[in-house]
């Protein structure tokens, strides 16, 4: 896997060299150093798949722009977060102090984001977070140097509350992983859900990395809700969904879950049994815009697989960065200008129109209700409703 990444890097580099020779920028390209972007993502451990998808998205976008922006070459330096915040801290230091990167991106774990926050802030290195979703990163712990192009936990789950109350059911079982994201997402959902007259029948938090969800399933069966709102990811989502179906609960209880649960990766592992599960997410496979069509086609062509929202997050993180570098015409020496450029960036993303909120440095974007479906032979999600443009309040 590593060698593949290497090889791609080299290939991209060679391609660029050829491009440079024939382009009118050849003089300046030869003169100027490439822009180095340090990427810290989990490539090993339980979140390895997330890191891989986000990287795919990033590279897809950079290929689209020929690995250049503002007239300069772009180089990605990838480091493994190892699902350990202490390692993230170390790797960020390496990228900044040894590799002298101009910008940072990536970061899977919210705890990693918190862990590197002070260092990044003091060093004044622009950081574009492509995943970590804890609200606090762009609220009380926000920094002018830190931007987030993925989601905040609140942002994606709050609008789902009223929609579920109106369209799915008033009695909902709340289930989430027992960690910060799970709790924040559930709290946000509940906030909107209660406002719309919903009644949570129970609230349950389960440990991360559980191998068995049958106890949870039993609790849900006993509580007899109309629907379950679950905030789970990775193997937890797979095991939960499979057991939910094995126990036949899908016959009587609807799933109205976080977008993480019906992530295309998870669906691939579950199969058709998840059909009909509803979720809230910032991206839907069936969004009918040209950026999305182009993205899906490029992804499927390159990786021979179905893209998911993690790839979109990586794709957009690079889109924001490239957009800002273009705005400052490749001149990163004036940091304030660069920050200003990211703050005011507006991009056309596969998820629709997305813009940076200059107050919080968190993206303002659409959130969609979607449903698991088989489309063109592919197991994915289809659009049910656009829940509107959502901005994180920043407090």
């Amino acid at each position: 896997m590593a060698t593949i990444r290497r090889r791609q890097l080299i290939k991209a580099g060679l391609g660029l060299a050829g491009l440079a020779a024939s382009s009118r920028f050849s003089f300046s390209l030869a003169q100027q150093e490439p822009i180095r972007i340090g990427v810290v993502l989990s490539y090993s451990g339980p979140y390895a798949r997330l890191g891989q998808e986000i990287t795919r998205g990033m590279e897809l976008y950079l290929e689209k722009v020929g690995y250049q922006a503002g007239g300069r070459r772009i180089q990605l330096l990838k480091e493994d977060e190892e699902a350990d915040p202490a390692v993230a801290v170390r790797k960020v230091r390496k990228l900044v102090e040894q590799d002298r990167v101009n910008l940072l991106s990536g970061i899977i774990l919210s705890s990693s984001a918190y862990g590197i926050r002070d260092y990044v802030h003091e060093r004044q290195i622009p950081l574009v977070i492509a995943n970590a979703a804890a609200n606090g990163i762009t609220r009380e712990r926000r920094s002018p140097y830190i931007f987030r192009t993925s989601i905040s936990a609140w942002q994606q789950h709050y609008p789902m509350g009223p929609w579920v109350a109106r369209n799915v059911g008033k009695k909902v079982f709340l289930l989430a992983l027992d960690y910060a994201f799970g709790k924040e997402a559930t709290a946000a959902f509940k906030e909107g859900f209660l406002q719309a007259g919903g009644e949570p029948v129970a609230e349950l938090y389960t440990p991360l990395g559980s191998t068995d969800y049958s106890a949870v399933i039993s609790r849900i069966a006993a509580a007899r809700p109309e629907a379950v709102h679950a905030v789970l990811s990775g193997s937890d989502a797979v095991i939960f969904l499979r057991q939910f179906i094995q126990f036949g609960l899908n016959r009587s209880i609807q799933l109205a879950v976080s977008g993480e649960v019906t992530d295309e990766n998870v669906l691939e592992a579950i199969g058709d049994a998840a059909l009909g599960a509803k979720s809230a997410d910032h991206w839907v496979y069936t969004l009918n815009n040209s950026a999305n069509r182009e993205f899906i086609q490029a992804y499927r062509q390159k990786f021979n697989a179905v893209p998911n929202h993690f790839a979109v997050r990586g794709y957009d993180a690079m889109q924001f960065i490239v957009d800002a570098i273009n705005t400052v015409q490749g001149d990163l020496s004036n940091r304030q200008r660069l920050l200003g450029a990211i703050e005011s960036a507006k991009i056309i993303s596969p998820r629709g129109f997305v813009q940076m909120d200059p107050e919080t440095n968190n993206v303002t974007q659409h959130v969609y209700a979607r449903e698991v479906a088989r489309i063109d032979g592919v197991l994915t999600n289809r659009l049910l409703a656009d829940l509107g443009t959502i901005r994180d309040p920043g407090k």
């Binding site: 480091e79 493994d80 915040p85 202490a86 801290v89 170390r90 919210s110 910060a180």
Partner: protein
């Protein structure tokens, strides 16, 4: 410490061994000249080295294979973090960390020494994971898995590194001196022949317990250093994999004699950091290193080095 080193450096056949140790100290101090990331890594290695030295003492001289050291490490880190948050001065916070770790050791040690071998391994693991769960669950105090940031605290990295290396060398020197005292020799005797030393009238339980407390306190101190070093604490530092990593460091370097642990920590930290930068299959690399070490350097890499360089005809 320095006196011990130079004495050994002068003493005949031990001369080259002494030189080897000076070399190791040099490796720890070299990054001061480089600064930046190498310095950061070296400080990390020195602090983990302190924890590894403690484990090495516990394992090699006390015969206790502990898989719960992360609990002491993390407790030390959280104690410093919370004490600083509560507004206590740094000195006091640094004093509290080893005390807290020793207190935990006292509570668990009473049970740990009732059993032996693999059961000790599992019991320490169990206690470690219970502390991990507590840190993870007690969100109000520890911030849960969001971790705890020590913002606003800035210690110059050079100073921190000097202090870390100083404490490490002082610990190695102090512990090696301690092993020469009646107390230390009694510990040696307990490892070699516990029945005999008991028949001579030594209540071995208290000796083992005190060793456990001492090593826990050192590990807690290392943890407090790591908290200052990273300015961030997460429950992951208490997870059992951290304990396993410490164990790997000790066994790589060699569990007899404390220098092996220092070497193991240094080697592991740098090799792991280096390898993980160009491949995500670093586990494969570390795993192979472990297997090869056992196959070709049974007592660990440090004794092998000592024999090759110390006993051989290398130019001293």
């Amino acid at each position: 410490m320095m006196a011990e080193l130079s004495r050994e450096a002068r003493a005949g056949s031990n001369g080259r061994q002494g030189l080897l140790r000076w070399g190791l100290v040099g490796l720890l101090l070299l990054p001061l000249a480089l600064g930046g990331y190498p310095l950061y890594l070296a400080t990390e290695a020195a602090l983990l080295g302190l924890a590894a030295v403690a484990l090495s003492l516990l394992l090699g001289h006390g015969g206790v294979p502990s898989l719960g050291q992360a609990a002491f490490l993390g407790l030390g880190a959280y104690t410093v973090g919370l004490a600083l948050k509560a507004g206590l001065p740094l000195g006091l916070a640094l004093l509290l960390a080893p005390l807290a770790a020793a207190l935990l050791a006292l509570l668990t040690g009473l049970l740990v020494f009732r059993t032996h071998g693999i059961f000790i391994l599992m019991l320490t693991l169990a206690f470690g994971q219970m502390v991990y769960s507590a840190a993870h669950k007690w969100t109000g105090l520890t911030g849960g898995d969001d971790g705890l940031s020590l913002s606003g605290l800035s210690i110059h990295p050079v100073l921190l590194h000097l202090v870390a290396v100083g404490v490490l060398l002082a610990a190695v020197g102090g512990l090696r001196a301690l092993l020469q005292t009646p107390y230390g020799k009694t510990l040696e005797a307990i490892r070699q022949n516990e029945e005999k030393i008991r028949s001579l009238g030594v209540p071995t339980f208290y000796y083992k317990l005190s060793l456990y407390l001492l090593t826990a306190a050192l590990t807690g101190l290392a943890g407090s250093g790591l908290a200052l070093h990273r300015s961030f604490i997460s429950p992951h530092d208490l997870f059992w994999l951290t304990s396993a990593t410490l164990m790997v460091m000790v066994l790589l370097g060699g569990s007899r004699g404390l220098w092996g642990a220092v070497f193991g920590a240094l080697l592991y930290t740098f090799v792991q950091a280096w390898v993980s930068s160009f491949t995500d299959l670093w586990g494969l690399f570390v795993g192979s290193l472990l297997v090869l070490t056992v196959l070709f350097a049974r007592e660990g890499l440090w004794p092998l080095l000592e024999r090759r360089l110390g006993g051989g005809r290398g130019n001293a």
